[in-house]
Subunit: 555 residues, 2 copies
């Protein structure tokens, strides 16, 4: 047979990337990256109030650019032999759409309205609405949050929908339905964006929208009306059925086939969340935590359905049949901020550069900018280098990693971070070290919760930018977790995972496991806990928990 | 009569300054500053372990330089009509001396030994010894700490002596006695450095060495031996009697008269602590807190002896008859770090400048240094400017000002600072604002303690670098204390206070009050609390106390 190829499309927070993969051996043929144009300019966002919106044009431009550019880099035969495309995106990142499924910001009158755009996963404007959902859920006969860890987050679908329609009457009136980013792209590619017929992802529905077979779908109309009468009727205009990402959403529409330079015989897979397909790409296996480590983390674990039983894991981000790997129970947890905490500290240290050095007259404008950039760019690396030299426990500093709230265990976006044990000798590397330790403690708290709730953990497979680039951080995490950590080889685990699922959706392979075995890149490196550190970190972790308890309950 | 002049000599942490003052009207004729040579180079110190030592040569060089230089700036008649010199220094800053009263580091074999040098007030190496003193004091029939607020500090005389002799057998064997910095300089000037006869200051003895008339002097030999047999016999080689700073220590020795270009008819006053004479210079009056605001603070309050009664104020740094103003009960409290906390934060922000920008090849070495200096120098001013624009309560950040331990209320140098309420939007100015608020809360905690213990406070008179230079900080402190703050006019309140006391010691005036009335500079500005801020700060102060309680007792 001639070679076959699939394309994985991975929509991240700042950019989208494509990856063309040889389905037979996983060879990564070519790829391309597109940085969102509007997003890069900071449009439609307001960081101090945690409002983060993305314009659908960014997604559309990136879709065309990354596939066309990647195809330019490979022989024509490759394009001719692409058999499938699958897409992963951030989530929950929903948008209000009209009857045709067009995001409102692509319709007249809404072009510049942030409420008519995609509400990015990390948007925290809906804190109040999340609280209302939790309050109502506590009182209701059926606990609709029970498969989502028992606590609904402001980062998720219903909180966001409710917040937007309350805030923006125009969007409320014009919004026929709502669509997740990971559902909109496949719908677009297949040419069926009808909100009532487009195939909805099990990931998004199960983990973020309280969809579950046991509820016959989404939470009941009564529940939603009790939450707010403004939600009346919306349930009917959403969906009942959901699909795992081994299912085909349809074939590539002639329109998009032409745009992209592909045949209309290409299968488009049902979409999924980036972290989930990252776990697939990194060859997640049962009872291993697949940890995507970037600005935040997503900690995923799969267990065979037959072993999962009726067990409910409290305080995580949900447990959904087939959400990560079709046929397995997918459990998801995560830290609201990980690398973002290091970036926050870098921003603090950059302050004199950007606010004082930027105005100097000692050098010309161009040199000034270069000096600022050069210095900023080196901060994290130099901090890591110096922090690594600080002896464990030496600084006495203990920090709490809740600078972006806490996703798990027990979601609470209102929580904040802290740094204790400071003295006049606490320098930047010592504080940085404590922040790194705090993010590792946040990871440990998640692992502990899984174990407390009866889900064993056999190991950790790490992926994402931090896992690849920060040996110092990774060693701390291994020591704190007291568990070896394998780092997946693929530079683009999410896109690779999408390409794997595309091969299943297109029928090349019949199971995810088969695709992983053929296309996976294996392990690149492994971190082993250093025994003498393990014990010391346990003590610091006890302080971390004590501090957290005080901040959360008594402060 | 011809004009008369006195010289005030003020030994601070980094430098010593002289001030020649016209006793009739307080006119400041001239002065000079000397930055300690060895200290500037960081010799004999180890900041991470809080070891801070000063070489007596720094004091000697500064003594001669500042007086000679100041006299060069005034007509010859002024030098001829100098009638008195008084000295203030930091404290408790003791040194081990031989039988002649010579600091060991000025004797052969000890020249480079930090343990043979002055142990600077802020040296915290004796934390363990302070604990032992407190433990023993709790068990002893007489509580020797009761006039020092009930808690003995690692910053004080006995803790430091005990720490040094335990650590350094050579110094232990060679040390005949110990002398405070404020006692050594007048002793030197009068030519009598004999440890058994030189006049010891009431300030140092009463506030730092548990000396009290009710104890017939220093703590009993039995107590000291119970503390450590190594202390046996030392009490006898120290002192029984102490003197207030209106008393003459003697006349200027011919040797020093010649060195300085003064007559040997000049009266040398008994020495005192810098903060106390600063309070005198700033015209302290009964029931006003005289607050020296610099790297740390010293908060002083005087009450007429007849009104003081037998009342003991718990948790402060002592109450001593005549320690601040002869004839009044002098109460002392203070914050272990104030401006030092702002400087600490500046150092953190400077880190990329000094560790990354310093290595750039984009500009030459000279420009590099200039850029770093220019940027560093502007950090605090720019932070203040931006922090002032942040609305009160807006950031949600609450900090604890214990980065250098806590001096009062309830000394505990082992405590550490903290910053809570951090999120990814917490930028440098917001954190700085919280640090400023925390130092103000530390001030409030001291005022509250005085009032709780039955000492009323009618107002605050501020002096020191922060009071003069930081209107933003001063307004926050006024709002937090809910009390108007007057800022004393003199730029050199400590040196001026010394010059005032020299005029009393020399017999020009018969009381401190008289000298203050003639020589005082009055008030320069006043800060009034803004009512709407007062209430908001009260809420934040409640959080500060809650946080402090947790950090101190439950963490």
């Amino acid at each position: 047979m001639s070679q076959k190829y699939t394309i994985g499309l991975d929509y991240g927070t700042d950019s989208v990337r494509s990856l063309i993969v040889n389905v037979e051996n996983g060879e990564e043929m070519a790829g391309a990256v597109y940085n969102y144009r509007h997003w890069k300019e900071g449009l439609y966002c307001d960081a101090p109030s945690n409002r983060f919106r993305q314009h659908p044009k960014d997604y559309l431009e990136g879709l065309e650019f990354t596939i066309v550019e990647a195809l330019k880099k490979v022989p024509k035969e490759v394009a001719e032999n692409v058999v499938g495309i699958s897409v992963d995106t951030t989530g929950s990142t929903p948008v209000a759409v009209d009857e045709k499924g067009t995001p409102l910001s692509l319709t007249p009158g809404f072009e510049e309205n942030p409420n008519a755009m995609f509400v990015l996963w990390k948007d925290h404007t809906a804190v109040k609405e999340a609280e209302e959902i939790n309050e109502l859920a506590r009182k209701w006969d059926i606990d609709f949050t029970k498969y989502e860890g028992g606590i609904y987050s402001s980062e998720w679908f219903w909180a966001k929908v409710l917040h937007i329609i309350r805030e923006d009457a125009g969007v409320f009136r014009a919004a026929y339905s709502w669509v997740e980013h990971c559902d909109w792209i496949p719908a677009l590619l297949t040419g069926d964006t009808n909100p009532k017929t487009l195939k909805r992802s099990r990931c998004a529905a199960g983990h973020k929208a309280m969809w579950h077979e046991a509820f016959s779908g989404l939470p009941s109309e009564e529940f939603l009306i009790a939450l707010d009468p403004m939600l009346a009727g919306l349930r009917e205009r959403l969906y009942k059925e959901t699909f795992t990402c081994d299912v085909a959403a349809g074939k590539l529409s002639p329109e998009w086939a032409e745009k992209l330079g592909l045949s209309s015989n290409v299968t488009v897979g049902v979409g999924a969340f980036d972290a989930h397909l990252g776990a697939v790409g990194a060859e997640i296996k049962p009872y291993y935590v697949s940890k995507v480590m970037g600005t935040s983390t997503c900690d995923m674990l799969i267990t065979p359905m037959e072993e999962a039983g009726d067990k409910l894991v409290n305080g995580i981000c949900g447990q959904v049949d087939g959400s990560i790997v079709p046929g397995m129970l997918g459990l998801e947890a995560g830290q609201s901020a990980f690398g973002d905490i290091y970036a926050w500290f870098r921003r603090i240290l950059e302050w004199p550069l950007k606010n004082i050095l930027a105005d100097t007259n000692l050098v010309d404008e161009e040199t000034r900018q270069k000096l600022i950039e050069e210095t900023s760019d080196k901060i994290i690396a130099k901090l890591s280098e110096d922090a690594e030299k600080v002896a464990l426990e030496d600084s006495g500093i203990v920090a709490l990693d809740w600078m972006n709230g806490r996703r798990t265990p027990d979601a609470n976006q209102a929580l904040k971070g802290a740094i204790t044990g400071l003295n006049l000798g606490s320098d930047a590397p010592r504080i940085f070290r404590a922040l790194v330790e705090a993010t590792a403690f946040g990871s440990k708290a998640i692992n502990e919760r899984f174990v407390e709730e009866g889900v064993r953990i056999d190991g950790v497979i790490a992926l994402g930018g931090v896992a690849k680039k920060s040996p110092f951080v990774m060693q701390v995490v291994a020591d704190v977790l007291n568990m070896p950590i394998k780092v997946a080889r693929s530079e683009q685990a999410c896109a690779l995972g999408s390409a794997m699922m595309a091969s299943v959706a297109a029928g090349v392979y019949s199971t995810t496991l088969e695709a992983q075995e053929k296309m996976g890149g294996g392990i690149e490196s492994e971190y082993h806990p250093i025994p003498e550190n393990v014990e010391k970190y346990q003590k610091l972790y006890d302080k971390y928990k004590k501090l957290g308890k005080f901040i959360e309950f008594d402060y």
